[in-house]
């Protein structure tokens, strides 16, 4: 029986369990940083974190708060520049990338530019940042999302970071490197993956106490619901201890 935990802590744990040991991974600000630290302390001790402005292979002893800060190359393998990092991704050296956005569509396309019309937006968002690059060049990408119908939409207002674009073969047709694309979405309600034949988002496993109907009700498009829907383990006592005592003791994020 696990103790109390927050939605954020749960998302971090579910994301952390997705890291594959001995791989390179683009880490963005926020939950991915905590997930990467948790993974490196648990299931992925040989994870190689890559931060877009140049830090590679850091030993994440203290939680970074920005993708350029010194903690992103603390005891690192290299501290170069954004061009070298992004070119390394373009050459196929970065296995995973974590992404976020204000909207995601059934094909895993993300929007972080504008809500509404681009030239007269209802809301101006920060912009692509490295998101489009990560989504274009990394072998596999994972999105972290608040789960509600305003964010899980049939069509993103501005396609910022490529998922499967319009479906099977679309990435290759657009000129994006073959074999790349999104593999998962970690939301506040569940873990999703993509149906191979259609490239559409598919429910994979539910967070504790969340129902399929709840997920459907909070998804603005038709989610593929497989016959078998799994359940995500709640954070273990050890995961929570690591998060609260070692990773984010000042509760900067959690």
């Amino acid at each position: 029986m696990s103790e109390e935990y927050s939605k954020t802590e749960l998302m971090i744990c579910v994301a952390a369990r997705l890291f594959e040991d001995g791989t390179t991974c683009f880490i963005g600000t926020g939950i991915p940083m905590l997930a990467a630290m948790l993974a490196s302390k648990t299931t992925a001790p040989n994870l190689v974190p890559v931060f877009e402005f140049g830090g590679t292979g850091a030993i994440l002893e203290e939680l970074p708060r920005a993708v350029g800060e010194a903690r992103t190359f603390h005891k690192g393998i290299s501290a170069l520049g954004i061009c070298d990092t992004m070119e390394t991704a373009q050459r196929g050296f970065i296995d995973y990338g974590f992404l976020g956005g204000a909207q995601i569509d059934p094909y895993g396309n993300l929007n972080s530019v504008t809500i509404g019309d681009h030239d007269h937006p209802k809301a101006r968002l920060p912009g692509s940042g490295g998101g489009n690059d990560v989504g274009s060049h990394c072998w596999q990408t994972i999105a972290i999302m608040q789960h509600d119908a305003r964010r899980f939409v049939p069509r993103v207002d501005f396609l910022t970071t490529p998922g499967f674009l319009t479906g099977p073969g679309a990435r290759e047709a657009a000129g994006l490197p073959p074999g790349t694309g999104p593999i998962a979405v970690v939301s506040t309600l569940a873990l999703m993956d993509y149906e191979p034949e259609t490239c559409r988002m598919r429910l994979k496993s539910l967070h504790p106490s969340v129902t399929v109907d709840e997920v459907k009700a909070n998804t603005g498009f038709e989610l593929v619901i497989p016959a078998q829907v799994g359940k995500n383990e709640p954070p273990s006592a050890e995961e929570l201890r690591l998060l609260r005592e070692e990773i984010d003791p000042t509760r900067f994020y959690i």
């Binding site: 061009c83 047709a173 657009a174 000129g175």
Partner: protein, 325 residues
């Protein structure tokens, strides 16, 4: 090699490589002159209304904040800006001095979407936003730094990013794959903060280099602010550490804690309360103005800023610095 697709975005900063060559020939002295100036002198001499200007690295990391604040203080207007920015560009947006943006990311990182950006863009005060990814804007500078009109990339393909950029998609004549061609970006003015520079402008940077090498080679006027001014003998002892050679540089400003409230690798850590203060106050236009009055407009210069911050807080930042171990 036909054009398969063209972004509809404006080339906010049209470029001419031959004119850039001529500029570099006639306006960039090869002599080792003394370029030391104050923030006021450097910004007054090289920044102008409507110029296309950029800052490196970004708001909370090795950012030329003392220069960025001086730009606001001197009240320039209609700036055309490329960013990639956090506090520095957010300040400019709040001050209402930005007219056009080659935008990649302007955000408050963990603190989310900057209200100043939303106000400036949604109100139409910023007239134009052309979209680029972080890598793309760096590669655009790299193209200029290489002295070529474009660089190819596989970023932005298949997305609205391509559509709202000024890139062009072509088929590679050697292997037939599709690539986006990114036009060179030659800035009118660039502001870069470094760890050490000599009075001529030879610069050393520690930790990540961000896009300093590219930007320094992709601008017509380069203002360097440095934590420390070192003798040229030190530069000549370690020529392999010179990331920005003097002939690229127009002004050298001695700016200790020049990146505050951001960090400077191995020298001082970030001032979280200082950053949070902007995050909080910038939620409203009034609050943002209050911040500008308190930390920028109401102060004479960077020295006055540092006095306001106070020795103790700066010392606390120093204690938070990354160490080589």
């Amino acid at each position: 090699m036909e054009i398969l697709e063209s972004g509809i975005g404006e080339i906010i900063q049209p470029f001419d490589l031959d004119e850039f060559r001529e500029w570099n020939r006639t306006r960039k002295s090869r002599k080792l002159t003394d370029k030391l100036m104050t923030e006021q002198e450097a910004i007054r001499e090289f920044v102008y209304d409507g110029c296309y200007i950029g800052t490196e690295l970004y708001g909370t990391v090795r950012c030329p904040m003392s220069l960025a604040r001086e730009v606001v203080r001197q009240g320039f207007k209609d700036l055309r800006v490329c960013g990639q920015g956090v506090l520095e560009l957010d300040l400019w947006l709040a001050a209402g001095i930005v007219k056009k943006l080659d935008i990649t990311y302007i955000g408050l990182e963990v603190y989310g979407i900057p209200p100043s950006l939303r106000r400036a863009v949604e109100s139409g005060q910023v007239e134009t936003c052309v979209e680029w990814s972080n890598a793309s804007i760096s590669w655009r500078m790299k193209a200029a730094a290489m002295g070529v009109p474009f660089l190819p990339t596989r970023s932005m393909l298949g997305t609205d990013m391509l559509k709202y950029s000024a890139a062009k998609v072509v088929e590679d004549p050697f292997t037939g794959i599709k690539v986006a061609l990114l036009p060179a970006l030659i800035l009118d003015v660039a502001l870069i903060h470094v760890h050490r520079a000599d009075k001529h402008g030879n610069c050393q940077i520690e930790g990540i280099s961000g896009f300093a090498l590219e930007m320094a080679r992709a601008c017509k006027r380069l203002i360097i602010s440095a934590e420390e001014i070192i003798p040229t003998e030190e530069i000549r002892k370690y020529p392999d550490r010179t990331m920005i050679p003097y002939y690229l540089v127009d002004a050298v400003v001695h700016a200790p804690y020049g990146s505050h409230p951001g960090e400077m690798a191995y020298l001082y850590g970030r001032d979280e309360p200082g950053i949070k203060e902007w995050v909080e106050m910038s939620k409203t236009a009034e609050g943002a103005q209050e911040y500008l009055d308190k930390y920028v407009l109401g102060l004479k210069d960077h020295e006055a800023y540092l006095q306001l911050i106070g020795k103790q807080r700066l010392q606390e930042c120093v204690e938070l610095r990354e160490k080589r171990e």
